[in-house]
Symmetry: C2
Subunit: 601 residues, 2 copies
């Protein structure tokens, strides 16, 4: 038996029972869609993943791309896999029809592409980054730029990247040094070095469109002087044909612990005369535009972390159901037959924890996808603004919680398999390696925690914070209508009170104490808030599960819902209570690390 | 600057200030030694590691051994590295002089070999497993067996393994099926398959001596029918010369996520006529003998996990001191120079947490090494028995706590380096991969937790438990004599009370409730007890640090001691309080995973 990539029943549960995506078909943009077309998209994702991604998964991992100084080589199987994604429409499933898209709601697109991501997260990276690149240019570029760059990317002929990080700047955008000089024809000449550029070079497409952050000569220092440029690998003539090679060169490939489906590149811009670049929007507003793509990329990262956790869970679950070993403490008779390991309570604990982490995390990612849709297609302007506010607030948690707990889930998947989990005969060790990147790229865990506590909580008189709490309270009210969920509703109410106390204490400290001290435990705050948000997601799922349970006598369906309710119970009993210890640390501004002098290390 | 493998000042602190190893020279066995010879041994370990292990570390990792169906190939650098270890005497530093050893106290040997382990944990595996194999045969084998097998192993001509795991038995020793049939000459014919045999085949030595668990035809079922055999790769004639190839064959190599310095093998015994094996001790007592080696191996595993955490900490510390990036929240002026990342409170948190985990864990491993010495060389029989009891009780924690928290430390080391931590230009991603095995081999985390709660706590009317608590209380009494440590002493007293309540509740449940339910959260109990034991180790270090601090005006020394005291403070403030939530779960026999039906997953 081959473990499923993801659980199809789960997907249908999320889409139709938790998030009721059918009502989206009332929106003009989705009027051609219906439940069947949504299910067909998910089914398509699963089939493409099973046919083109799953069979090459291990080979992709064990044959990372190489660079001989001239060109990048990778296993030949990757190109047809990506072409299959392009041919299926899953490279840009939410794009407009007239741009070659399927105009699917992002939440449905997320579910469909989840299978691809689970079976080959970084192979999919080539198309998902291209998609995000297109979305940015569509939002902030000119019509001419859309025609010239987005159209061939949507067609799969070009690929796209995001080029921010520099060797000496890292997370610190203020210190970017890549420069841009305007030339007479209105284009710019870009010079500088970028590192860790995913998909930064390859031979999979005719051309690569880099979105590059650079500083126009004379621009203000810091983040206010950053502009955004389209810098293609190959220049494109006005008729759309390929022109000369641009002055962009691959300096080298990084050898990563995981995520080996996608090249990670050091790129040199302008070693000769300067690479030709085209300004997107206005000068000095580049970081704002890039945040459009970065926020999307942050949700992609969280989603990738969550689905890698989901697929590891499915794999280890499948293994645990089939692998006999040992006996229970209550039955040590060596003459009795060994039991399948799922009978061991500790193995069930490791499976249930994975389920709680992975399904909780993915519910949050789907919720984020829905909000990203609502901020553009909800019926009223007020609803759109509300969605925007909530998504903006939740983004650090959507990015971070799955990235922190996804690897924990993958570690448990390894542990379920024991020694077999440590060898590449099984994919769980690869999931563990792949997933470790997610707490780093697109803003580290620490960066996200400062974004949450120092910016998103206090900003606009705490509007985002209050919107988030109000949304949680709305779910609590719904939950209270179910007898079985009242205990969890009460627990979440108490958690919100704790959150409020903790938040007030920290905001007061940010005014009254040295700011560096007040923010020193920001990651604990992120984790505390994140656990409450995931508890919220479990309560959402609990409401849908209890509703489903009340309405069916079908045993397999009842089992499915009971499993959801049990994972809810696990999360509230075992994981959520940790917030009390964390709140205590936060409220007393625990300072052992803050006070640690460099010379004491 | 190259990061040190380990911190030499730390080693001296542990040996001479925390554990006062100089007093060991009063024991007859160590009368030739003195402080200088102990320091020289540690220095030797560092030098051999720097010269022979560190330069090949990355190559070992990126060139795992291969098997062409006939023989195993590995990079040629491994053999001279192992020969250098053998030549230095560090392959068996605690062995008797007349067996080629240095007769070093195990705690000093642990410190000396820690450098080798940190720089090449699995390369060292060839010699450390050989050493453990010799120790077993010396304890339980015949004089003839010692002469025939141990002598060439001690000389480095032969290597040794431990062959327990079978494809369908895994952790369940009761289900071993490898069989042994006695032949007329008194030897046995062994048939069966073993997997995950570390160092199970290679061409590094003339011969390999497998210690194999097998079942003599007609033996009782379960663990009471297991015998232990010496099964060499090549038969040895009575004059010590090599004879014919034994019927032991490499079926294949496993490809591991990490730990690639050492082959992991599937071995076939007796595919033709049966492999010739020689019984160790008596029939059906094999598992008891093997536990001799396994307990030693468990301490080795914990030690390897701890030193991998220590070296990752050193590396990330070095990086954090040298890498400029970003500014503090209090100083956002983009015109100011970026600070080294150690100035960021969250980076200091990640460094201090690593220090607390790694140094706490390694202190416990050294304590275990000392107990393993005391149980053989302490002055009185009573002291020896006491040491044996305490070591036996602590072994699951010595094995498990470093294996769980070591990888956490290594994950933090990656995070300190950010994207650079995820690529193989730096070794921290390798440490993370290497360390993940330690919670699996030599008894998984779950197996250790059952060993602790179901066996070691209740056995002998809780004698081990009481010995452990008494030892902790003795340290608390010492700590109370230092003003600065009283708050931690009080906290540890409260923790012991919590431990007592939790333990009593669980033991009562084991009598009154279904045993499988009572044991269902055994891993939480292991983690709770482990955190208390590590807090104890930090208090031990705190006493030595405060004593040192009171006696010196030397700034670098003061800084060192202040760092120790700060890590103590971190552990007690941030990590130890987690036990309250865990105790609450344990005391109410939290059962969400236990109650989860297989069909609900």
């Amino acid at each position: 038996m081959v473990a499923p990539i993801l659980n199809d029943r789960d997907m249908a549960f999320w889409l139709f029972e938790v998030f009721d995506v059918e009502q989206l078909t009332r929106r003009e943009r989705y009027q051609d869609h219906n439940k069947e077309s949504f299910l067909a998209a998910v089914e398509l994702g699963r089939k493409v993943a099973e046919k083109h991604f799953l069979p090459i998964r291990q080979k992709v991992d064990t044959h990372q791309p190489t660079f001989d100084g001239q060109r990048v080589s990778m296993i030949p199987e990757i190109k047809p896999a990506i072409e299959a994604v392009n041919a299926s429409g899953l490279a840009c499933p939410s794009a407009d029809y007239d741009m070659g898209g399927m105009q699917l709601p992002p939440i449905v697109a997320s579910a469909a592409t989840a299978y691809l991501s689970a079976a080959g997260s970084t192979t999919l990276g080539y198309t998902s980054l291209t998609n995000a690149n297109c979305n940015l240019i569509e939002s902030h570029g000119s019509a001419e730029q859309i025609a010239k760059w987005v159209v061939p990317m949507r067609e799969g002929r070009f690929a796209g990247t995001m080029a921010m990080t520099e060797p000496s700047a890292g997370s610190s955008m203020a210190d970017l040094t890549t420069s841009a000089v305007k030339s007479d024809d209105g284009s710019y000449r870009i010079s500088g070095s970028k590192i860790f550029i995913s998909g930064g070079d390859h031979e999979l497409t005719e051309n690569i469109v880099h979105l590059v952050l650079a500083r126009v000569k004379g621009a203000p220092k810091g983040i206010k002087g950053i502009s955004l440029f389209i810098v293609p690998k190959v220049l494109v003539n006005d008729d759309g044909s390929l022109g000369e090679r641009n002055d962009v060169h691959l300096a080298g490939l990084f050898h990563k612990m995981g995520g080996r489906g996608q090249t990670s590149c050091a790129l040199s811009f302008g070693e000769r005369d300067g690479a030709v670049g085209y300004l997107v929007g206005e000068e000095n507003k580049g970081l704002r535009y890039m945040f459009h793509m970065m926020n999307e990329a942050r949700i992609m990262v969280g989603t990738s972390a969550a689905v890698t956790a989901l697929t590891g869970y499915q794999y280890s679950l499948d293994y645990a159901k089939e692998r006999p070993q040992g006996r229970l403490p209550s039955s040590k008779d060596p003459a009795s037959a060994p039991v399948n390991i799922i009978k061991h309570p500790d193995v069930r604990r490791m499976l249930l924890a994975q389920k709680a982490y992975a399904e909780g995390a993915y519910t949050l990612c789907l919720f984020g996808a829905q909000l990203s849709d609502d901020e553009r297609t909800a019926a009223t302007q007020a609803e759109r603004e509300q969605a925007h506010e909530l998504l903006d607030f939740l983004t650090p948690m959507i990015k971070s919680w799955p990235s922190e707990y996804g690897p924990r889930a993958n570690s448990l998947a390894i542990q379920v398999l024991g020694g077999h989990g440590y060898i590449n005969e099984h994919p769980v060790e690869m999931f563990y390696r792949d997933n470790r990147l997610n707490a780093i790229h697109e803003g580290t865990y620490g960066v996200q925690s400062l974004d949450l506590l120092a910016r998103k909580v206090p900003i606009n008189n705490m509007a985002g914070y209050r919107a988030c709490v109000a949304a949680i309270e709305a779910t609590i009210e719904q939950a209270k209508m179910h007898e079985s969920l009242q205990v969890f509703a009460e627990q979440l109410i108490a958690s919100l009170a704790l959150l409020q106390t903790t938040t007030s204490t920290l905001l007061a400290a940010m005014m009254e104490k040295p700011i560096d001290l007040a923010l020193a435990n920001s990651v604990k705050y992120l984790e505390l808030f994140g656990n409450i948000v995931i508890a919220w997601m479990w309560l959402k799922q609990g409401i849908a599960a209890q509703t489903g349970l009340d309405a069916t006598d079908h045993q397999a369906e009842r089992d499915f819902y009971l499993g959801k309710l049990q994972a809810l119970r696990y999360f509230f009993n075992v994981e959520l209570p940790e917030i009390y210890a964390w709140s205590a640390l936060l409220c007393k501004l625990e300072s052992s690390a803050f006070d640690m002098e460099e010379s004491w290390f």
